[in-house]
């Protein structure tokens, strides 16, 4: 895995008077889990779409290693975006452009606890399950960057926590570089190696904070809450973003 540099000088939508993103710089270390935290509508999804090469109308560059290139992407959208006419397993198989041994998918399904529904059509799944399928699909392509756009929003608290734990388990088994968008600070602290706080438009990086809590203590909610309180105390500039 290689480091990735994102450098967006300017992104303005054709109809907008103001830039959505300007002078945005972010370096992703290999296998690092980064949470992007910022107010809604600040341009986080725009940023992810640029990295995923869905939006090419911007001024800037993306470097994979030393190369000007787009990284190989696994994108987990806010809506799972599964094909309703394909079963869970077929949805995952479809993104693999070269044939892969079926054990890889078996394993991913197993970790995400979806083995029993692999032949079901997505309409029969709950939202939480569909999102887990989307996570498997993204991991299955073995991407250079995993983009996650609030993948656990509008799940009830226990379902969201379960999904987060499964995600972490999968990520620890198969480390990948992750860009995870959220505006839930507790969720960000529970997941990330590093938090990146973003201002509203034009989007810029306000501060970057490395989280020192060891991985094995991340499920401890009081440790996360204590860290959150301290964070807000020591960094008053991020309070307005939440």
């Amino acid at each position: 895995m290689t480091d990735i540099q994102i450098n967006i000088k300017n992104k303005t939508y054709p109809t907008a008077t103001q830039a959505s993103i300007s002078n945005f710089k972010l370096a992703l270390k290999s296998n690092e889990f980064i949470c992007l935290v910022g107010p809604s509508g600040c341009g986080k999804t725009t940023l992810l779409n640029i990295i995923a090469s869905l939006d090419k109308d911007y001024d800037g560059e993306i470097l994979v290693g030393q190369q000007h290139a787009y990284p190989k992407i696994g994108y987990i959208f806010q809506n799972p975006r599964l094909l309703p006419w394909r079963t869970v397993r077929e949805n995952i198989e479809l993104v693999l452009n070269e044939p892969q041994p079926s054990e890889i998918i078996d394993e991913l399904l197993e970790v995400m606890q979806l083995t029993s529904v692999q032949q079901a059509y997505p309409e029969r799944l709950s939202l939480g399950m569909s999102r887990r399928v989307a996570i498997i699909r993204a991991f299955a392509v073995d991407p250079e960057v995993l983009l996650m756009d609030e993948p656990f929003v509008s799940l009830d608290a226990p379902t969201a926590r379960q999904a987060r734990e499964l995600l972490l388990k999968l990520w620890q088994q198969r480390p990948h570089t992750v860009l995870f968008v959220t505006h839930d600070l507790r969720e960000a602290i529970a997941l990330a190696d590093r938090l990146v706080f973003l201002s509203s438009s034009p989007m810029q990086v306000i501060s970057e904070i490395t989280i020192p809590i060891p991985r094995q203590e991340r499920h401890n909610e009081s440790a996360i809450e204590t860290f959150r309180q301290q964070l807000l105390l020591n960094h008053p500039e991020i309070k307005q973003l939440l």
Binding site: I73, Y75, N79, R81, L83, W85, V95, N97, E123
Partner: protein, 248 residues
């Protein structure tokens, strides 16, 4: 009452035949033969090979012109639905072709290209094509952009995107165009045959009209309706079932 629901279609069919029989017996006229007389003519024409021959010729024309119209229509419809500039350019053409009466197209095709098979087929295709294009264009415009974006960032490529993302979404529109297309095309084909061909259902019906042979007209009509029903039951319904199996 599940049993009653099952036999109701049969009952209604029997009622229809009974009314027909009653009116025909009451009028006792050459212009409305009884179901029995029609069945007799139907059987005779089947045995003599006349009906199967003319029905077959018409069906062949139907299959050829329908296939051409659907293939071209789907391709052009998807293209116009995906490309705004082309759509803006060709929209007027579509409106013109949609509104030219079928009879005018048929006459012009025969006048310009002669009384030959290919101009008959061309006339049918020109009549049907704009309908297919409009239906498929609407379908393409309503494609889910989210799924298309998903396909793009997972590098599906053109073929995979078409087969797995676009086509399943277009399925209801294609089936709609198919059903309305079959109904429309066979009516137009009869006119085409009546005006410029020396075989097929249209030609035969014209002949029977001149002879005032209503029993034959009804026999041919029933044969045709039955064939179209068979196509619906044997081909379209199973296709629907297979394509929509994922729906709850």
């Amino acid at each position: 009452m599940p049993n009653l629901k099952k036999i109701l279609p049969t009952l209604s069919l029997l009622a229809f035949l009974a009314i027909w029989q009653g009116v025909a017996v009451y009028l006792n006229s050459n212009t409305l033969p009884t179901p029995e007389a029609v069945t007799q003519v139907f059987w005779q024409d089947c045995v003599s090979g006349q009906l199967p021959f003319h029905l077959g010729v018409t069906l062949l024309r139907l299959v050829v012109s329908f296939s051409i119209a659907m293939l071209l229509g789907c391709a052009i419809g998807i293209m116009l639905g995906r490309n705004k500039k082309m759509d803006a350019f060709f929209d007027n053409w579509l409106v013109i072709f949609l509104n030219v009466p079928a009879l005018v197209t048929i006459i012009l095709c025969y006048v310009w290209f002669g009384l030959v098979e290919s101009s008959a087929i061309l006339a049918v295709v020109i009549n049907k094509l704009p309908n297919v294009i409009v239906t498929i264009r609407e379908g393409t415009r309503s494609l889910d952009q989210d799924l298309l974006d998903m396909a793009r960032c997972y590098h599906f490529g053109k073929r995979k995107t078409l087969v797995h993302v676009i086509w399943p979404q277009l399925h209801p529109f294609v089936m709609g165009a198919t059903r309305s297309g079959l109904a429309l095309i066979w009516k137009i084909i009869l006119v085409v045959e009546l005006l410029g061909r020396s075989n097929g259902m249209g030609y035969q019906l014209h002949l029977f009209f001149q002879l005032f042979d209503v029993a034959s007209i009804l026999a041919y009509t029933i044969a045709f309706v039955a064939v179209i029903q068979l196509i619906e039951l044997m081909i379209l319904k199973p296709l629907d079932k297979k394509a929509l199996r994922w729906r709850r």
